[in-house]
């Protein structure tokens, strides 16, 4: 049986854990933040960390391990100060993400989920990180580095390995270490939300075009509906009534499939 920490470290973590579990009606909801917390302490989810979470929540270590291994952000072995993730999901891969990953892999001499000997960089292939309009995208400790090329990505990792700082395209003014980042994800703010920009160019492109063209959402009251397709024959809303083809079974994940013919009996969605 692994002991869950000791001494000052234990006292400090117990205080943090109490703050986490106090946020939720049921303390077990604190498990994901607790795992981020132990990762912020140890650099990865250690056996001690698992034992600490289990003891805090009155769970078995097996139950905690079962949760920790489900989520990709929890690392089960030591990793670098900087987690460098190259998006190789379809869109970024095709726009150049595959080439960026290959370049970094060759340049650093490591593959997916491996760490450089100096402990600076862990390289990962990552899935779509919700920045497709900035493709190809790379994340360093989950801060955005947009519009990358093999050269720019190699420069970033070289700078980090030299012990110098790099500036995210959209994020804080510098990249927090893996452990500092994990503490934020545990729900302890680092006061850096005010750093950086609000929006990059692709985020603003539609807004700027609208301003140039003088396009706005209609004023109130609406004198004349805009000439979109269905406005030609306005139809009264039927609150609570049949609205569309969405009366299909489960709500899908983001971007899901409610309109798909699933062969299931339609049921009432909630």
């Amino acid at each position: 049986m692994i002991e869950p920490y000791e001494g000052d470290k234990l006292a400090r973590l117990e205080a943090d854990a109490a703050a986490i579990t106090a946020r939720y009606p049921d303390p077990r909801s604190g498990l994901l933040p607790l795992l981020h917390l132990v990762q912020s302490e140890d650099g990865y989810v250690t056996g001690e960390g698992i034992a600490f979470c289990a003891r805090t929540l009155g769970l078995s270590t097996a139950e905690v391990s079962g949760v920790a291994t489900f989520y990709t952000q929890y690392k089960r072995h030591p990793c670098g100060t900087y987690n460098v993730g190259v998006c190789t999901n379809t869109l970024c891969a095709i726009m150049g993400g595959d080439a960026i990953f290959d370049e970094l892999s060759e340049h650093l001499g490591i593959g997916h989920d491996e760490t450089t000997d100096d402990g600076a960089i862990t390289l990962e292939r990552i899935e779509c990180n919700a920045a497709c309009d900035y493709a190809p995208v790379m994340m360093v400790n989950w801060e955005f580095f947009d519009h990358q090329t093999p050269q720019s990505a190699a420069e970033i990792v070289d700078t980090l390995r030299a012990g110098d700082q790099v500036v995210p395209t959209r994020g804080a003014d510098s990249v927090a270490s893996f452990t500092e980042m994990s503490r934020v994800l545990a729900g302890f703010p680092d006061g850096r939300g005010g750093e950086g920009i609000g929006a990059g160019e692709p985020t603003l492109v539609g807004l700027r075009l609208a301003k140039d063209k003088g396009w706005e959402a209609p004023e109130l009251p609406v004198a004349e509906p805009p000439p979109t397709r269905a406005q030609e024959e306005p139809v009264e809303p039927v609150p609570g009534g049949e609205q569309s083809s969405v009366d299909t079974p489960a709500a899908p994940p983001e971007g899901g499939t409610a309109d798909t013919e699933t062969g299931r009996e339609p049921s009432e969605e909630a």
């Binding site: 994901l32 150049g96 899935e127 994800l185 545990a186 939300g193 979109t228 269905a230 699933t262």
Partner: protein
């Protein structure tokens, strides 16, 4: 041009320190909250129903109806959970919204909580967008400081706390019942429905779960009315939404427009497909929506018309691919994603995506057979409608549509012993592929190594 852009959600994104409370209140923020707190909650729900607002997370279920499914109060707690776990490949709207204007989400959350009689709300933010998490966390703290959260909000007698919760990397947690399990500190696996979350959701209590963009649309409807909202969009797909253009397009980015705008109109605004190239295929709403082609440029991007065209509006994640793109490579990579992200709960998705990934990899790298195409379709047939949740269904969308639209291209990979496309041509920069430098001439990754 028939349709023009209608910035509402994105209206404040360009102002200085747009994420700050000051910028938000200087630009009209938190006035809808005052209106809402002076309104009967039942009237707020009616207004959202009348607006026709449909869930912006992909499913398109009417938001007001979802709220209306909550049973009458039994005196116990009920919860609001905001799904900010944006992870569908191609989808990139909630992340910039929360980064630029987190208070809009906070205000929408407070109004919605008031409308449904909830005193504890959660915003479940994807853990892989650190700076967005910081911004939402700080926005909630600022709102609390300013008296928009806590007890007796603005003297109304209404109490509310919001917890901003970070996920830890799992696509499945965007599925609402999986999100609830995750929020309860478990592996994020979907639940059987019924019972629906409205009846037994978080901690088995009545719960409303809505997407970020849905909740962010609420303040403007409260401020300007259901009729105003309905004056945009189509009759069954009302209002505005963020259309996210990405890929081989001259000016990718966020275009906020009425539902029913077409890709042709959006591409005109975005400067067209990248210079010297033309559209080959696109997704209307992320990688879980069947592929469309240049034959669908004039399909109105609303729920009904896109469904009629054989796909789904989804999250309006318009990923644009030009003729340099290998469709087999694209679909193979999406399938790697589903295999990686399958939660493992149900056999059709867990096993089906596992085998599809391998079959597609061997086809892409010239080791497939024509029989593999039939096998793929057969596997899809065994997933679609048989998977436990819609994630499994979504894994089949691009495979079945891709084979239907581009069977010749699949065949060319099989009979021509490899991918006929040059990956350099589709990239946004020039480079020499590692495989080429090392004398191996295969595109992309070695077979079977995809997925993070």
């Amino acid at each position: 041009m028939a349709t023009t852009l209608t910035p509402v959600l994105s209206a404040r994104w360009g102002v200085e320190e747009s994420w700050s409370l000051r910028a938000y209140t200087d630009n009209g923020g938190y006035t809808a909250l005052r209106t809402a707190l002076a309104t009967d909650p039942a009237d707020l729900i009616s207004a959202i129903k009348d607006s026709g607002l449909r869930g912006r997370g992909g499913a398109g279920f009417p938001a007001g109806m979802k709220w209306g499914f909550l049973p009458p109060s039994d005196g116990g707690p009920r919860y609001l959970v905001v799904n900010a776990d944006e992870s569908e490949p191609g989808t990139c709207k909630d992340t910039p919204l929360m980064m630029a204007d987190p208070h809009l989400l906070v205000e929408g959350t407070i109004i919605t909580a008031f409308a449904i009689g909830c005193h504890q709300a959660f915003i479940y933010v994807r853990g892989e967008i650190l700076h967005v998490y910081r911004r939402v966390l700080e926005a909630v703290a600022q709102a609390r400081e300013a008296g928009y959260l806590g007890t007796d909000i603005l003297g109304s007698g209404f109490d509310l706390e919001i917890v901003v919760h970070a996920g830890a990397g799992a696509y499945i947690c965007g599925e609402e019942t999986a999100l609830l399990d995750s929020l309860e500190g478990r592996r994020g696996q979907p639940r059987l429905k019924p019972p629906f979350p409205a009846v037994a959701g978080l901690y088995a209590r009545p719960t409303v779960i809505n997407n970020v963009e849905t909740i962010a649309s609420v303040p403007s409807i409260v401020a300007r009315g259901a009729d105003w909202f309905r004056s945009m969009g189509t009759d069954k797909s009302t209002g505005f939404g963020l259309f996210s253009l990405s890929g081989h397009v001259t000016r990718p980015g966020q275009y906020e427009a009425p539902l029913g705008i077409t890709l042709r109109e959006l591409l005109d605004m975005a400067g067209g497909v990248r210079e010297g190239h033309h559209l080959k295929f696109w997704t209307p709403g992320g990688s879980s929506t069947p592929l469309l082609t240049d034959a669908h440029l004039d399909v109105p991007l609303d729920y009904e018309a896109v469904a009629e065209a054989g796909s789904m509006l989804g999250t309006r994640a318009l990923q644009i691919f030009d003729e340099t793109t290998c469709v087999v490579r694209a679909i193979s990579r999406w399938t790697d994603f589903y295999a990686h992200e399958s939660c493992g709960k149900c056999t059709p998705c867990r096993e089906g995506t596992y085998w599809m990934k391998q079959i597609l990899a061997r086809i892409e790298h010239g080791q497939g057979t024509m029989e593999d195409l039939d096998t793929l379709l057969d596997v899809c047939d065994n997933i679609l409608g048989r998977a436990f949740c819609a994630l499994g269904d979504g894994a089949t969308s691009t495979v079945t549509s891709g084979i239907a639209l581009f069977r010749d291209e699949f065949a060319a990979h099989i009979t021509g012993a490899g991918c006929p496309f040059d990956p350099v041509a589709s990239a946004l920069f020039d480079y020499t592929p590692r495989a080429r430098r090392e004398g191996r001439e295969l595109s992309g990754m070695p077979a079977g190594t995809g997925g993070a």
